[in-house]
């Protein structure tokens, strides 16, 4: 078996043991890598009833078959665990150079169990792995931790993925950071690492990754490299995703003021175009990536002078317009605070925006906010709230650190109606009511409200459907997108290159050239369906049914007032029709449970017995 390292690490933190496990070829062909391996690992190792922050939870790190090879953007990796935020399948896919390094060290991944008595970090040095004392690193930011570990190991090229204080304090929104600007975001993987007293994983890999057909793979990769620098990725390379701000604003689908509106009157001030002129200092690329999308801001003057942070559309929108903030320097500072302390920017923005609405409605007092003036538009307050929630500092910080679902449950008083999440995951920066196919995809996502599981917003913003209405046909659009994205996340490729490939057959050919495992486009898509169903089975194990696949009440109960989409809301009848269409296209029953027949067809026989309808 090529492309894969053929083995992975098993690390027992309670027993302080490290061992080597073989990766079976059947596992590779059926589950591909990344997301697929993560789904299989959690199904096999995390039984019903486990507390996400207990030693029984697993923290699995997986690469894909292209990591460490010449295939462009193949350097990504994923981290998987039962999520403390959503209490279902949790994970984050991350860019940077860590994935390449891990594979080059000779490992497809590492499955970490138990809980260390003291803070440790795992150092993987080619074929060996050892747990190192991290007592001196506890309390350090993600950025400092990277530097300190490199200093300790005397090697500036070691790749480090670390948690910040937010993860140590078990905040539900905590993430894992590598290369400073790249995060294993969403769903609280940083808190799971923190619960295990695992501060970081450091890796040094110096070996070549063997592929099945080097000449042909190189030829194809170089061609893809060329295409990656063509017009299909220009938007990422030149403008970066913040260019979405003005486009979404024109279409009435830029969430502002905690999703009350779909336009922002000061959108020009936080636009990607403006940011490029006033704040972008440099544009970086991940290891092995010809696209180079990472737009790094620097604040040159004012109270936040000296701030440096990578600001993408999601972070900008959720810490900016969603909180009514139009000050690019304050948004950049808020992102820097989140990144250094180790908190997810999307979730942070949504949770703060909800608190701002509570404050303006009189549901939170100045006493509740420890004196912070949480009115919409106060950029300084957003920066400070982000800091406090990351550190669980004071009443407000502790309250917000649990995420919007739990915070609204604690506050009560009707605030859950405008806590914008699905399954506990804070909603990303796509309007619920004016991008309705996207909303179906957010709700069926295995990770909770998530634009990255199906990309179904694309049919809305490309004008291929009426984005202000729903019908049964949207279900298949969403499930097809989920199957494709499951493959991208298993291989693991960057979604920014999805337009570069001519077909799934071309992706399959690349897979075969790298691994030697024969694969066709349809077989790859079938694997995508298997992987999505596997993750769904895990969620069913943890109690998910149809009732969990709905957007928050604001989507149904409040019409939009923005001129461009005036009067728009989602009707329950249409949403139910779309959901029915989705379940039907998936071969699941009306309650959203995979049928035994479908699971058996996909080779998920154990799961058919356990959860199949």
């Amino acid at each position: 078996m090529r492309g894969y390292a053929g083995k992975y690490l098993r690390v027992g933190l309670s027993s302080k043991t490290v061992s080597e496990e073989r990766l079976e070829e059947g596992m590779a062909a059926d589950y591909i890598g990344g997301l697929g391996f993560g789904a299989r690992t959690l199904l096999d190792m995390v039984p019903k009833g486990v507390d996400p922050l207990s030693s029984e939870n697993v923290l699995a790190w997986w690469t894909g078959p292209f990591a460490g090879t010449i295939v462009p953007t193949g350097s990504k990796f994923g981290v998987f665990a039962l999520s403390p935020l959503t209490r279902i399948f949790g994970f984050g896919i991350c860019s940077g150079g860590f994935g390449n390094e891990l594979k080059s060290a000779g490992w497809d991944g590492a499955v970490i169990t138990g809980r260390s008595e003291k803070p440790v970090y795992l150092f993987i040095d080619d074929g060996s792995a050892v747990l190192m004392d991290a007592s001196g690193l506890w309390g350090k930011t993600t950025w400092d931790t990277e530097e300190l570990i490199r200093e300790e190991l005397g090697d500036g090229a070691v790749r480090v993925a670390a948690i910040g204080p937010a993860g140590e304090k078990l905040g539900n929104l905590a993430n894992i950071t590598t290369d400073r600007n790249r995060q294993v975001g969403r769903s609280g993987m940083g808190a799971v690492a923190g619960s295990k007293n695992l501060k970081a994983v450091a890796v040094r890999g110096t070996r070549d990754v063997e592929v099945a057909n080097l000449d042909e793979l190189t030829k194809m990769a170089l061609d893809l490299n060329e295409r990656c620098q063509g017009p299909k990725t220009e938007k990422y390379r030149v403008y970066g995703t913040p260019a979405n701000i003005l486009v979404h604003n024109r279409l009435g689908c830029l969430p502002s003021y905690n999703f009350q509106r779909g336009t922002f009157e000061k959108a020009e001030e936080v636009s990607g175009e403006r940011m490029l002129k006033t704040h972008v200092k440099k544009i970086l690329a991940c290891t092995g990536c010809p696209v180079a999308c990472d737009h790094v801001n620097e604040v040159k003057e004012g109270p936040y002078a000296g701030t440096v942070a990578s600001v993408d559309y999601e972070s900008l929108a959720q810490l900016g317009p969603l909180c009514g903030v139009s000050d690019l320097s304050a948004v950049t500072k808020a992102v820097e605070v989140c990144d250094k302390l180790g908190v997810d920017t999307i979730s942070a923005g949504v949770t703060i925006a909800w608190a701002m609405e509570c404050y303006e409605k009189g549901l939170l007092s100045k006493d509740d906010t420890d004196g912070l003036d949480l009115r919409f538009g106060n950029g300084d307050a957003v920066v400070e709230a982000a800091r406090r929630m990351s550190l669980k500092e004071g009443k407000l910080g502790s309250f917000l650190s649990e995420g919007v679902r739990k915070a609204s449950e604690k506050l009560g008083r009707g605030s859950a109606k405008f806590a914008i999440h699905c399954k506990g995951m804070e909603w990303a920066a796509y309007s619920m009511r004016s991008l309705q196919t996207s909303t179906v995809g957010f709700c069926t996502s295995i990770r909770g409200a998530d634009y990255l599981r199906s990309g179904s917003y694309q049919v809305d913003v490309a004008g291929k459907v009426d984005r202000l209405k729903l019908d049964g046909s949207r279900g298949k659009i969403v499930s097809d997108g989920e199957n494709q994205y499951s493959i991208i996340d298993s291989l693991i490729l960057c979604k920014f290159t999805r337009g570069v490939y001519s077909s799934m057959d071309e992706v399959a050919k690349l897979y075969t050239l790298a691994t030697g495992i024969e694969m066709t486009g349809p077989q790859l898509l079938k694997a995508g369906e298997r992987i999505y169903n596997a993750a769904k089975c895990f969620n069913v194990r943890f109690g998910m049914t149809r009732k969990d696949d709905y957007p928050p009440p604001r989507a149904f109960e409040e019409t939009m007032a923005d001129e461009v989409v005036k009067g728009t809301k989602i009707t329950r009848e249409e949403f139910d029709e779309a959901l029915d269409g989705y379940y039907e296209s998936r071969g699941w029953n009306k309650d959203g449970i995979p049928t035994k027949a479908k699971l058996i067809e996909l080779g998920l026989t154990k799961e058919a017995e356990e959860v199949g309808a």
Binding site: Y239, E273, C293, G455, Y457, A462
Partner: protein, 99 residues
């Protein structure tokens, strides 16, 4: 009665034209293709090349988004879509997301 079309530009279209918006006098309805031709006459061949596909029948939806009155134009047959006096047309980068 309005006689012009308001055209807004973002991203690269703002750079090519050097402006955020403009008004184009049309008197009566024209096709989107004609509107793009007229704008290309003002702002140069690059404006046309960035938008219209090699066949000259649709627009490059992988890099461009066109909306008429906030409704995104379906790329297929886009150039024959009518544009009326009083319409607002947006030329923007297609929406990007998901790393």
């Amino acid at each position: 009665m309005p006689e012009g079309v308001v055209v807004e530009f973002t991203g690269p279209f703002r750079e090519i034209t050097g402006r955020r918006s403009t008004s184009v006098d049309i008197g009566s309805a024209i096709t989107l293709g004609v509107l793009i031709s007229r704008l290309s006459a003002l702002y140069g061949e690059e404006f046309w090349r960035r938008i219209v596909d090699d066949e000259g029948t649709g627009y490059r939806a992988d890099s461009t988004m066109i909306a008429v009155n906030q409704r995104v134009v379906n790329p297929s047959g886009a150039l024959s879509q009518p544009v009326k006096p009083g319409d607002r047309v947006v030329f923007a980068l297609s929406v990007a997301g998901g790393g």
